[in-house]
């Protein structure tokens, strides 16, 4: 059993690059306090790709904002986020001033958004976005633009042509790849990506996923890949953190999550993925709906939708407990869950 850290739900990771402790985000609303991140603790290891998976309303995007201390007002963020640079002292991210934060954002921790959503200023060429980013962070312009060229080539874009284009002249896939290149131009250690591929076609999605695997190797990146698409990220990620009800309910190595997950929600989520190589078209349904942030269920937040729930689940919120090697799940009955909820794609021969 993991010791003192278990109460935080934190997973003992060697050499974490980011430690998130008891992060909560609340909004005061007319009908009560809305808690959109609930005492979340998570370690992110240096040079890993971690997939953060959750349905809409699970709090996964709020986690991204919390990491960069960029929760919009009137949201209120509590907890701790510690960044450990390769050399140098740990940085308490949430206590930094705006000016100090600037030195962390983009330069150390970059954020890549969905290209379709915001991305590029329509009045500026792609080149201007690179120049502006470099200037704002007092980076050497010539070196920076050389890197930009290389990065654009890395993502299979023709640098001279792309840099002279405006955002609207690019396809969705080109825009997303240009945003990834832009995110990497200041040589960050960590890249947080929020649904970086979900607006794109499957072929482009998967192509970008294999690109990211290459980029990670080439630039020694730590990647936090936030997505609703569990199947997409399992190939790419070293570890997966599953979010439900504004907290992490399970975290572990991807293969372990796939083969032996211990949380009923994860197991049900895995069974909702269509597996076209399977003989039978069996897909599960998760009855009910995601919890209301103003009125989060007592005990385990998943209990109203869980087939295994009993009194204990209604009353006591289960901590993230060890259920295997480097594998933690927040469930009172991980063994029973494995028994009661077989994974459809591993069944049969």
């Amino acid at each position: 059993m993991s010791q003192q850290r278990q109460q935080h739900g934190a997973v003992g990771i060697d050499d974490p690059i980011l430690e998130i402790r008891d992060a909560s985000v609340t909004f005061d609303m007319a009908r009560g306090t809305s808690r959109v991140l609930d005492n979340l603790s998570l370690d992110i290891a240096r040079d890993e790709i971690i997939g953060v998976v959750g349905e809409s309303g699970s709090g996964k995007t709020m986690l991204a904002s919390a990491i960069l201390d960029s929760v919009d007002d009137p949201g209120y963020l509590e907890g701790e986020v510690t960044y450990h640079p390769e050399d140098g002292d740990p940085v308490d991210v949430l206590s930094l001033s705006e000016e100090e934060l600037k030195g962390i954002r983009w330069e150390e921790i970059a954020f890549v958004v969905q290209g379709a959503q915001s991305g590029f200023n329509p009045t500026m060429k792609i080149k201007d976005h690179f120049v502006e980013t470099l200037r704002t962070h007092d980076a050497d312009l010539q070196e920076g633009m050389e890197r930009a060229h290389q990065l654009l080539e890395d993502v299979y874009l023709e640098p001279t042509q792309i840099l002279e284009s405006y955002g609207h002249q690019l396809s969705g896939g080109q825009k997303q790849r240009a945003l990834i290149a832009l995110g990497l131009v200041l040589e960050p250690e960590v890249v947080v990506m929020d649904e970086p591929t979900s607006a794109l076609d499957l072929l482009m999605q998967r192509s970008i996923v294999s690109l990211l695997a290459d980029l990670k190797e080439e630039y020694a990146l730590t990647i936090v890949f936030i997505t609703h698409d569990l199947a997409l990220v399992t190939d790419l990620a070293d570890r997966i953190a599953v979010m439900y009800g504004f907290e992490v309910v399970e975290v572990g190595p991807s293969e372990t999550i796939l083969a032996d997950s211990g949380h009923p929600y994860t197991r049900k989520l895995l069974n909702t993925v269509p597996t076209i190589s399977a003989d039978e078209a069996d897909m599960d349904i998760i009855e009910g709906s995601a919890p209301d942030p103003v009125n989060v269920p007592s005990g385990c937040t998943f209990h109203p939708r869980c087939p295994l729930a009993d009194d204990q689940c209604v009353n006591i919120d289960p901590p993230l407990g060890k259920v295997g090697d480097d594998h933690h799940a927040a469930c009172h009955y991980p063994e029973e869950a494995r028994e009661a909820l077989p994974l459809s794609y591993t069944e049969g021969d």
Binding site: Y156, E158, V273, T275, D284
Partner: protein, 377 residues
């Protein structure tokens, strides 16, 4: 014995023949003159009774245009679209002449055709009247098409259907407005509304794409369930092969793969998934996440980006991205070759004695795409 291609039913509900839809667009800032895009270019496809055809392809491949043309919402610029043997646009013209008092041939009235061919959209809310309750919304088709129904019967029918699709308590849901429904609930209402027309074919245009993963299955199950109840066919359009697979497999239907306006492969679900013939179908299968086979391999395409649809490549349109392309692919256009029962593919590789096999491979320039960066190997 020479066997002719026969389809499941003698007379298809909808029959597309060499269909072409060309859009004229003004060029960028009017500088480059007029561009035209063949959104659909020479597609033939029959949809039978109680049939399910799932059309899959990347955005811009023309699948939505093809779907809309199949249900008479978009007029083709070439070829024909027939409903039970009746050319849809000839019916419209005939009805127009009739309304002017001129006599025409007999045939199925255009209004009946339109009623028989329904659509549900990706964004159901946009197709609903924001000022109507669910009950008002669902009353409209009943009033129009079953005017004999009493008010009480209409109410009972609507409540029954709402309950059937799991929107309980039905009295509560009947009084709600569209914005008070979740995406999944809106899609259910849209589905009921189109089914109340007793259509022969429903075009489901990315109807589940906007829903959360766990909800998609629910809506697809409902579609399958209602298909049995109402004897409807579906033309299901999706960019997602996995969903197409699920729906078509459960219904025993077919999958059609579109690329740049052309139907490059069509066939029974099992054959498309386990024995794909077209390299583009193979690429889409590679791109479809699968929990049973995990590996981040390089994409089986030579270029990551889709060519400009207004200037499609010569010969086989996929040849610029195809890992199997040879020089002949850039100059000759493949036909649709029969490769199995109701299974066709537009690739020279399915023809044993095609000159493709003696044609030199295409040499690529620079590192223009995935799989091309060979410097480290």
């Amino acid at each position: 014995m020479s066997q002719q291609t026969t389809h499941a039913t003698d007379e298809p509900v909808v029959s597309l023949e060499n269909l072409r839809v060309r859009f004229e667009e003004s060029g960028f800032l009017g500088l480059t003159g007029k561009d035209s895009v063949d959104a659909v270019d020479g597609v033939s496809l029959d949809i039978g009774e109680n049939d399910v055809v799932a059309l899959v392809g990347e955005s811009g491949c023309g699948k939505t245009t093809l779907g809309k043309t199949a249900i008479g919402l978009q007029q083709p610029t070439g070829g024909s679209v027939k409903y039970r043997g009746q050319d849809i646009w000839e019916a419209k013209e005939r009805d127009r002449l009739l309304s002017l008092g001129r006599r025409g041939e007999d045939g199925i009235p255009f209004a009946d055709i339109r009623k028989s061919l329904q659509i549900i959209h990706q964004d159901p809310e946009s197709s609903m009247n924001a000022n109507y309750t669910v009950e008002n919304e669902l009353e409209q088709p009943l009033k129009k098409w079953q005017p004999d129904l009493s008010r009480a019967d209409r109410k009972a029918r609507i409540r029954g259907l709402l309950e059937y699709v799991g929107m309980k308590p039905a009295e509560d849901y009947a009084e709600r407005y569209p914005h008070q429904l979740s995406g999944g609930e809106q899609q259910r209402v849209a589905l009921i509304r189109s089914l109340l027309m007793s259509p022969d074919l429903i075009l489901a245009d990315e109807a589940i794409s906007a829903l959360d993963v766990s909800l998609r299955v629910e809506v697809m199950e409902l579609m399958l369930d209602l298909q049995e109840q109402f004897n409807t066919s579906y033309l299901f359009i999706s960019h997602d092969l996995a969903n197409a697979w699920y729906l078509a497999k459960k219904a025993g239907g077919r999958i059609g793969i579109m690329y740049l306006g052309e139907l490059v492969e069509v066939g029974p679900v099992e054959e498309i998934v386990h024995d794909p013939q077209h390299p583009y179908t193979k690429a889409l299968l590679w791109a479809t996440p699968d929990l049973m086979s995990s590996s981040v391999e390089d994409p089986p395409i030579r270029k990551i980006d889709v060519p400009d649809p207004s200037d499609p490549p010569s010969g086989c349109r996929f040849h610029t991205r195809c890992p199997e392309a040879r020089e002949v692919c850039g100059t000759q256009k493949p036909e649709q070759y029969e490769v199995g029962q109701e299974h066709e593919a537009g690739c020279f590789r399915v023809v044993d004695d095609h000159e493709y096999w003696n044609s030199p491979e295409i040499e690529d320039d620079s590192s223009s795409g995935p799989g091309m960066s060979t410097s480290d190997d």
